[in-house]
């Protein structure tokens, strides 16, 4: 069986800066794949290439066996790949219900308004925002907005969900809830590709991990294997506490 | 001397004034991301300020540019606090509309006072005659004044403390505040200078052409074209783009009917916007 997502030889350049360079990896159906790396490693850029926000300068992206390189983000969603943003982008003056309805309306199933509302209510329940469906999005806390991001992406009924730092800025109990949510999503048959800085979380969630540094893929493999990779340790040398954490997590 | 050359010289002379007219717009836009729609009304007020001062005190009209500038600074501070301060940093539509509202009020008051009849500043400087063609002294003097003001503005922005602070705020307001620059004060100053520039250019235009309280609109539109071509907050960029615009008018007019000029100009404007949405010299607007 071929992989759900195949990224091969992808590069992206901004002016003189090579943001992503010749990155290749696969994501299998039903898998949670983590993407880690120091700040500025090119993680979000890679997400933006995968879901079509940026056109890569080289390389191809295949999704469900079909080439999706360079097609626009809205078409990528229709194919079944949804994402969240690291910096949340709520549709502030719409209600939560409308926010999520947008996701359902224009997602993979391209539902009509009525069908989309039903899905949206369901998804809002699922992420724990059901009671606030008729509030305006701008009134949410940061944790609420992160959940809303996830809900909108889920409402698109994706095959693959791209999560960009959904845990950042949450307090420990919120982190725990979100981790449970991600697990539930995967158990519901959605594959997950996630960027995360919170090492403990990503090490425990991911089936495999891809490590980026300075736009290049440094390592790929199961969490415990990646942690012991000497290149990875070296890349994080500037951040001793992270190395420390990495080792501790792997030992745990 | 050929007609085309004469037409080009005329174009360059008036183009320098277009450039000056655009500097104020471009400065305000660059510093606080506000497209100042009072610009045209302020240009018109500059024209009437010159007219009033000149009727009170005939003599060398160009000396009167200084009091006009002074009035412009004061008016700029007023307009800033009245309509802009509350909307800086809000969506651009808000400042677009609040400055447009002030524009309507200024035009309304101006119409009540002066109606919309044409006025003239009856001042003329000995011109320069080359063959059959004469270039009026007023045009030459206005172009020189525009050049001098551009130089002064350039010096101010790059060599003085306040000027550097304005550029810092334009670059990154938050970072500038962290460095201890009071962004409110700087925004007020920048806005006041922008208005003073608009009024000064209006005062110069009043020595060239007759004007009504509505005349500013033409120069405001030309200022948009110039600003889009030049990019934001660059006095010399604006001057050069203005001269280019004037030159274009000069080069084209001998060959086609003048009534086609606006079509070419605004066509160019739209093309420039689409091709260089951040200005040719480039300053990225906040996404």
């Amino acid at each position: 069986m071929s992989a759900l997502l195949e990224v091969s030889g992808v590069s992206k350049r901004f002016g003189g800066l090579l943001a992503v360079s010749d990155v290749t990896f696969n994501l299998d159906e039903g898998e949670i794949l983590g993407l880690i790396g120091p700040n500025g490693a090119g993680k979000t850029t890679l997400f933006n290439i995968v879901n079509g926000v940026y056109k890569p300068d080289g390389g191809t992206i295949r999704f469900q066996g079909r080439n999706i390189t360079g097609i626009s983000p809205d078409k990528v969603v229709h194919r079944g790949m949804a994402r969240t943003h690291q910096i949340v982008k709520p549709l502030n003056d719409l209600t939560l219900l409308d926010n999520v309805t947008v996701g359902a309306c224009f997602g993979r199933e391209y539902l009509d308004l009525k069908g989309a509302r039903a899905v949206a209510l369901e998804v809002l329940q699922q992420v724990g925002l059901g009671k606030r469906a008729h509030m305006l999005a701008r009134s949410l806390t940061i944790a609420g907005k992160k959940r809303l991001e996830v809900a909108r992406a889920l409402a698109a009924k994706p095959k693959l969900l791209l999560l960009d730092e959904v845990l950042a800025g949450l307090n420990p109990s919120e982190v725990g809830q979100m981790i449970d949510l991600v697990r539930k999503i995967r158990d519901g048959g959605v594959s997950v590709f996630m960027i995360e800085h919170l090492m403990q979380a990503i090490m425990s969630l991911s089936d495999r991990i891809v490590v980026l540094n300075l736009g290049r893929k440094l390592a790929e493999g199961p969490p415990d294997e990646v942690v012991h990779n000497s290149d990875v340790v070296e890349a994080y040398l500037g951040f001793p506490d992270i190395v420390d954490k990495l080792t501790r997590t792997a030992q745990a | 001397m050929s007609g085309v050359l004469a037409s080009m010289i005329d174009g360059v002379l008036v183009g320098a004034v277009y450039g000056l007219a655009a500097m104020g717009l471009s400065l305000i836009w660059g510093v606080m991301d506000v497209i100042n729609l009072t610009h045209g009304a302020m240009i018109a007020l500059g024209m009437f300020a010159m007219y009033l001062l000149y009727t009170l005190h005939a003599g060398t009209a160009y000396l009167l540019l200084l009091p006009v500038m002074g009035v412009g600074l004061l008016l700029g501070i007023m307009v800033y606090w009245m309509s802009v301060h509350r909307v800086v940093g809000r969506p651009m539509l808000m400042s677009l509309l609040s400055t447009f509202a002030v524009n309507m009020m200024v035009i309304g008051i101006g119409t009540a006072i002066w109606s919309t009849s044409p006025y003239n500043v009856n001042y003329s400087v000995q011109g320069l005659t080359l063959g059959a063609y004469t270039f009026t002294g007023n045009h030459i003097a206005a172009a020189l004044a525009a050049l001098l003001i551009a130089l002064a503005l350039q010096w101010f922005l790059y060599r003085t403390r306040t000027g550097k602070a304005i550029r810092a705020v334009a670059d990154n307001r938050e970072a500038a505040e962290l460095m201890g620059i009071s962004s409110t004060a700087i925004l007020t100053i920048a806005f006041a200078i922008g208005i003073a520039l608009a009024m000064t250019s209006g005062a110069l235009v009043s020595t060239l052409f007759p004007f009504t309280i509505l005349s500013g609109a033409t120069y405001q539109l030309k200022s948009f074209v110039v600003t889009i071509l030049a990019g934001l907050g660059k006095p010399f960029g604006a001057l050069i783009a203005g001269v280019l615009l004037g030159l274009l008018e000069g080069v084209v007019t001998p060959f086609i009917a003048v009534s086609w000029i606006p079509l070419i100009e605004f066509g160019l404007f739209v093309v420039a916007l689409v091709a260089f949405p951040q200005g040719i010299f480039g300053k990225r607007a906040a996404a």
Binding site: H78, L94 | I107
Partner: protein, 321 residues
């Protein structure tokens, strides 16, 4: 679907009132006042699709009205077409023009788009001023006899009035229908955050192009009727920049984004303006007062009258949309 919205029936009631009031006692003077209100509502409602729904400020919206007037009048007089057919063709032609303009300028965002619309307006006006078949800046005149086909001048005025009220009702129904549709939801998403909307699957390019051309259609149709009633058209009245800007004032005053907001703002502003204009003491100050109102709304009540109303009565959102 739309028949189930209470506001649909409110719109019909408003239109019926517009027809009944002047007809009652043959009050032609009232009709003349109402026709300007109706035109203002048509312009503001369709502008609302761009500004209120999609978040794109169109300073040159009047270009559709003027072009529609030109195309329609040309077809009706020079080509001798039936008035309604001419107006519909004008609507289609102008929508196509809008689509083409949109291809060029809809890739611009925010203020840059707004500026480009000024450029479009000026360029089109300049083109028409030089276009011989349309009489250059002299414009086109209608023969008094052409009203005979509608049963004489007096009758023709009533007919055009009904037609314009029809277009007004359609404009509001269009706003209502879009607001309650998937298409409208896509537009709202674009208004709130275009990048996010695209990532959520909204094809922003297509949506913007469609709404831009749709917002051109009814103003163009109304333009044909209005300039037919007017008896003549020339570039300065067809493409009046000031009227374009006043459309924005009306919308802000009433409350952008709300169907009723556009209508309310247009109605109030037009009433206020005609009052100020015919009152000898205030006629010089109508701009000052309009500008002052706009400033107050923008600074202190960006939601306009409807925003204030909704805050007062949040439940009213479902009825008065």
């Amino acid at each position: 679907m739309i028949l189930r919205r209470p506001f649909f029936w409110i719109i019909l009631a408003i239109a019926a009132l517009f027809i009944y009031l002047p007809l009652h006692g043959n009050n032609v003077s009232l009709r003349e006042d109402l026709i300007l209100v109706a035109i203002a509502i048509i312009l503001a409602s369709n502008l609302n699709l761009m500004i209120g729904y999609t978040g794109y400020v169109n300073f040159g919206h009047i270009v559709f009205y003027g072009l529609g007037g030109y195309v329609g009048l040309y077809l009706a007089t020079v080509r001798g077409l039936n008035l309604v057919a001419a107006a519909l063709i004008a609507g289609v032609v102008v929508s196509l023009c809008a689509f083409l303009f949109g291809l060029a300028i809809l890739r611009l965002r925010g203020a840059y788009f707004a500026l480009a619309t000024i450029g479009i307006l000026q360029a089109v006006q300049s083109f028409v001023s030089n276009f011989d078949p349309w009489g250059r800046s002299t414009g086109m005149y209608l023969s008094f006899e052409s009203y005979q086909s509608l049963g004489g001048a007096m009758h023709a005025l009533w007919v055009t009035y009904y037609l314009i009220i029809g277009v007004m009702a359609l404009s509001m129904i269009l706003s209502l229908a879009v607001k309650n549709s998937k298409f409208g939801l896509g537009l709202f998403a674009i208004r709130e955050d275009e990048d996010a909307a695209v990532v959520l699957g909204v094809n922003a390019t297509v949506y913007k192009s469609i709404v831009y051309s749709v917002s051109a259609f009814l103003p163009a149709v109304a333009g044909t009727f209005m300039f037919y009633k007017n008896g003549m058209i020339d570039p300065s009245i067809a493409f009046e920049y000031m009227l374009s800007l006043e459309g924005i004032v009306m919308l802000m005053l009433g409350g952008q984004g709300a169907v009723m907001g556009a209508a309310l703002g247009a109605g109030l502003y037009e009433k206020l303006r005609s009052y100020l204009l015919t009152s000898p003491k205030l006629s010089d100050f109508h701009l000052v007062i309009a500008g002052g109102l706009l400033l107050l709304v923008v600074l202190f009540a960006p939601g306009g009258l409807m925003g204030w109303f909704y805050r007062l009565l949040p439940r009213a959102r479902e009825v008065v949309e």
